[in-house]
Amino acid sequence: MPDETPMKIKDLLSLLEAKSMTPGADLEKDVLCGYTCDLLSWVMAHGQEGMAWVTVQTHMNVIAVAVLSDMACVILPENIEMEKESLDKAAAEGMCVLSSPLSGYEICGRLHAAGVPDKE
């Protein structure tokens, strides 16, 4: 039975063996749902508030999409690095970016097992 209290971004750090790439970002935000997709125009149509979005895309438009959809955080799988310009933009917009050594498949598996629901 999943806990009804939503996870927070800080809980994802240990769950996903992840580190925050955006020092100063608010790790207390609730994670309301999980999602993975690399097609930005698709994500624009399906993004939701509080979403933890797993993507291998790292350019600046990723941050714009996450911010405009009020997402909780962006998660980069397999230690993928994000360009400095994108991280600067994330910091300026208050968007948290996590980097995990796990694959996108494993990240989503762990999120789901921990009770993070699918989008509505």
Binding site: S41, M44, M60, N61, E85
Partner: protein
Amino acid sequence: MSSTLLHEDYPVEAEDYTRAGEASADIKRKLKQLGVSAGVLRRVSVASYEVELNLVIHSRGGVLSLEVTPERVLLVSADRGPGIPDLELAMREGWSTANETARSLGFGAGMGLPNMKRNADEFDIESQLGTGTTIRMGFLLS
């Protein structure tokens, strides 16, 4: 005539992927300051980003305008061409003429126009080949 609370024009350049989204981010900030509800704010944000990206990907450049009255938020995108040859096809989900650059960044899924129409309460598109395309989207505030 309703009184205009806010009017802003944002020039958007063709192929400028670095600045893409800045107009939409500013629109979101301004509407938030005006106290627009979260639901409307999210729909306007999605639609404005889609239309801003369309200007970057498909047009020769244009202007995205924001107008707010007590009744509605109005977004108008007017570009300098090239115009859409077949509007019915362009409105079809999955249809896209985006180039390789746009696709490599994760755009060009053919979701833009249908997604704008889905998020706006009022949607109108006019296009003339060689002249340009104008898209009007209204979002009711009450």
